[in-house]
């Protein structure tokens, strides 16, 4: 993540998405409204059953979820976090009310970490869904995965990702809920048009401290601190030189006896103050690293997705007008030679507007479940020569899964590539796109076996990032008892160069045991 020096533009991102989507909403709604009504049947036998038998509480209200106890041991003796074992309970509760044409859903998680006094609870989803014939409207905090890939995506644009606890690629739960209005128009048995308006924006979350601190975030923090230290030293040197000059001039003009003590005291006070400023500068890093307030309507986003089935292929198209979830960093007043105490050295993060067009497809060929996605993320720097703006980006995902040995063995393999376009125009070391690699590919493969009527599963997950040669491996065994409890044991190993995506967590190899009880 390069830091670029520049002046504050004061520009606010425009929000054309709302107006565009308003038109699309209306057009789609009326198009779908012409669908013929189907002959109704007598409904579900199960839902006719008494509430307790059907798993409900009363009056359409249901409660479900799970309680999980997790133990993690980090055997690495050089573990910088110094916490060899963590244990925490995790509760996941969903309360839902199902009416004639309305669903209300609340799902939240609560977790007590190993660190005393640090309980955490968050709303995973909270939304209402209204069914309007061929359309249904969802409103609230929603998690919604888009794309045909398994865990890896190119067109999954609606939710940010929380990297606060490094997890596997196939997890959905690490997405952050996003407030949105989402309209689904069902245009046929397998055809659907989804329209989403997100009034605010949530960036991806990278921890800067702690066990799972992300190297890029740490590097950014470190570079800010280093820059501030340099700024402080320059400021001190400048003040010291100026003060000494002034003192010398005063002493020469006023004579050695007149006011000598006062002049020296003033000079000492001024240089001491500047030294204090200089010494405190690195500590200002937290304050100097500034993120925009994306909880404003200026950060509104719009997205649409059309999916359908043609013959043996499921396919879809996706459009998105929003923002890149990873920031660009620009520095202000950090490298200006003539600094003053009033200077405001800082690094501002910005989330740049993007327009994405993507496609997805899934089909079956020779027994392989083939899935793929591709997307182009356009930015305002289409020529790639603006060091202050992000270059356009191409992202693809391709992979498959296939059963072997009559379904007892399954191989799932996916690759994801990201390519910064027109990277040959990135020449300035301060370009926000400046990086070691402009094309990255990560490969994730999982070989799994389900035994004893799927009560015992054994798997091995491997991830490899081609450019930096970082890797992760995770063998896992899970045993399901009576369809209620799942006991899981896994061991995660991280490897590769220290600055690689996975290698940075080499001290975090861990053995995890969990017991999950669902209700």
């Amino acid at each position: 993540m390069a830091i670029r020096s520049g002046a504050a533009s004061g520009r606010r991102p425009a929000s054309p998405a709302a107006a565009v989507l308003a038109i699309l909403f209306a057009a789609g709604f009326f198009a779908a409204g012409g669908a013929a009504a189907a002959q109704e049947d007598g409904g579900s036998f199960f839902e006719e059953a008494p509430a307790a038998e059907a798993g409900g509480l009363f009056g359409g209200l249901s409660l479900s979820g799970s309680l999980t106890t997790v133990f993690r041991a980090f055997p690495d003796a050089d573990d910088p976090a110094g916490t060899p074992v963590s244990a925490f309970p995790l509760a996941d509760v969903e309360l839902a009310w199902r009416g004639d044409a309305v669903d209300l859903v609340f799902r939240g998680t609560a977790r007590q970490d190993a660190v005393p006094g640090s309980p955490s609870a968050r709303v995973e989803e909270a939304y209402g869904r209204v069914y309007l014939g061929p359309a249904d409207l969802q409103l609230g905090w929603i998690k919604q995965e888009w794309g045909k890939g398994d865990g890896l995506h190119a067109v999954d644009v609606l939710n940010a990702t929380d990297f606060g606890d490094f997890r596997d690629y196939d997890e959905v739960s690490w997405r952050l809920p996003e407030p949105m209005a989402k309209l689904d128009l069902h245009l046929g048995p397998m055809a659907k048009l989804e329209l989403a308006y997100l009034p605010t924006f949530t960036p991806d979350s990278f921890p800067r401290t702690g066990r799972w601190a992300h190297s890029e975030a740490v590097a950014l923090q470190a570079s800010v601190e280093a820059a501030l230290k340099a700024w402080g030293q320059a400021y001190y040197a400048q003040v010291y030189t100026s003060t000494m000059t002034q003192m010398s001039t005063a002493l020469q003009s006023q004579g050695m006896l007149a006011g000598q003590a006062a002049i020296v005291a003033a000079a000492q006070a001024e240089t001491a103050a500047s030294l204090a400023v200089a010494q405190a500068a690195p500590a200002k890093a937290a304050l100097a690293l500034r993120e925009p307030d994306t909880r404003t309507l200026e950060f509104g986003q719009g997205a649409l997705r059309f999916t359908t089935t043609t013959g043996p292929v499921d396919w879809g198209l996706v459009g998105y007008a929003g923002f890149l979830r990873r920031p660009a960093a620009r520095a202000f007043d950090l490298y200006v030679p003539a600094v003053t105490a009033a200077s405001d050295p800082r690094v501002e993060l910005s989330y740049e507007r993007t327009w994405m067009l993507g496609a997805e497809a899934a089909g079956v060929l020779a027994g392989f479940n083939l899935r793929g996605e591709a997307a182009g993320y356009l930015t305002k720097d289409l020529s790639g020569d603006d060091p202050a703006a992000k270059n356009p980006l191409a992202v693809w995902v391709a992979g498959f899964d296939r059963d072997f040995l009559e379904g007892k063995l399954n191989l799932n393999a996916f690759a994801k590539g990201e390519h910064v376009l027109v990277d040959d125009k990135i020449s300035s070391p301060a370009d926000v796109d400046k990086a070691e690699h402009y094309s990255t590919v990560v490969v994730v493969a999982k070989l799994g076996a389900k035994l004893l009527n799927e009560t015992l599963s054994v798997s091995a997950l491997g991830s490899y990032r081609v450019e930096d040669r970082g890797w992760k491996a995770k063998p896992e065994v899970a045993w399901t008892w009576k369809d209620v409890a799942v006991l899981t044991a896994s061991y995660s190993v991280f490897g590769g160069p220290d600055d690689s995506t996975f290698g940075q967590y080499a001290a975090n190899d861990n053995l995890a045991l969990s017991l999950k009880v669902s209700f």
């Binding site: 048995p189 392989f368 479940n369 369809d483």
Partner: protein, 267 residues
């Protein structure tokens, strides 16, 4: 070519399911006629059933699942079937849609609520267990009459009812998870249900045995009310018990859509 809605699980859920097969020489003509008669037997156009699955482990331990199934033919006579898992909590609201196609494999999709996502399933997964039961995805797929060749092995009573014993061999073994299927088909033309079937993993080893433990007339059709699929190798078994059933009643076309998979709603 006419297809039938599944063979085994369908036999319980739909009563139109009979392993079906093609003609060869000698006694195979009789065998083919028996299977053809079973296939041609009047069958309901639609089904709706609530079924309890009892999963019995090798030590007799029991876990239960409740599923609900709707099936209906489309205007071209091709079958659609959707299954909803109601219990237990680990699989609740999982939904599975199968759409029969003319000239190619069935389309299959599954909705997994934990992922909030509909996922296409390949036909190659047919040999895998259906949600942890002794039934496989292929057990619920449609079968073509001419994909098998037949031989009449004799007759024997099952549960007090006379049956023809018919052996079915897949013409293309690569397309079948079983080396052969031997079926005890009720001789009574009114019934014409497979009262027992043995699925062979190779030429001489029985992999699984299906037994109709109770049959009865429902809405004018003979239907299995309780059947068991036993894995002869592991001793595990899955018992299907009909809890409620309707035949030839209207089934909302919207059951067989992505919307129903995702929401469980048709309105």
């Amino acid at each position: 070519m006419r297809k039938i809605v599944k063979a085994i699980l369908g036999a319980c859920l739909c009563a139109v399911a009979v392993p079906s097969f093609a003609q060869t020489a000698g006694s195979s003509a009789d065998a083919y006629a028996i299977m053809k008669a079973a296939e041609d037997k009047a069958a309901p156009k639609t089904t709706h059933a609530l079924v309890k699955l009892e999963l019995v482990d090798e030590k007799g331990g029991l876990s239960e699942r409740v599923i609900e199934q709707w099936s209906a033919e489309d205007a071209a006579g091709l079958a659609r079937s959707v299954i909803v898992f109601h219990t237990p909590a680990t699989v609740k609201n999982s939904r599975f849609l199968t759409v029969e196609n003319a000239g190619r494999d069935d389309d299959k999709w599954i909705f997994l609520p934990a992922l909030k996502k509909v996922r296409r399933i390949a036909a190659s997964e047919g040999g895998s267990s259906f949600m942890g039961t002794e039934f496989t995805y292929d057990d619920m797929a449609t079968r073509k009459l001419d994909d098998y060749s037949y031989r009449l092995l004799g007759s024997e009573a099952v549960g007090g009812r006379d049956c023809d014993i018919v052996e079915a061999l897949p013409k293309d073994p690569k397309k079948s998870q079983y080396a052969k299927i031997v079926t005890w088909m009720a001789k009574d033309p009114e019934i014409r249900l497979p009262l027992r079937a043995q699925m062979y993993k190779d030429a001489s080893t029985v992999g699984k045995t299906l037994t109709m433990e109770e049959i009865a007339q429902v809405d004018g059709y003979w239907m299995p009310l309780r059947l068991t699929m036993k894995n002869e190798e592991t001793g595990r078994a899955t018992r299907l018990v009909q809890q409620k059933m309707e035949l030839d009643k209207a089934v909302d076309e919207r059951r067989f859509t992505v919307k129903f998979l995702e929401t469980g709603r048709v309105e």
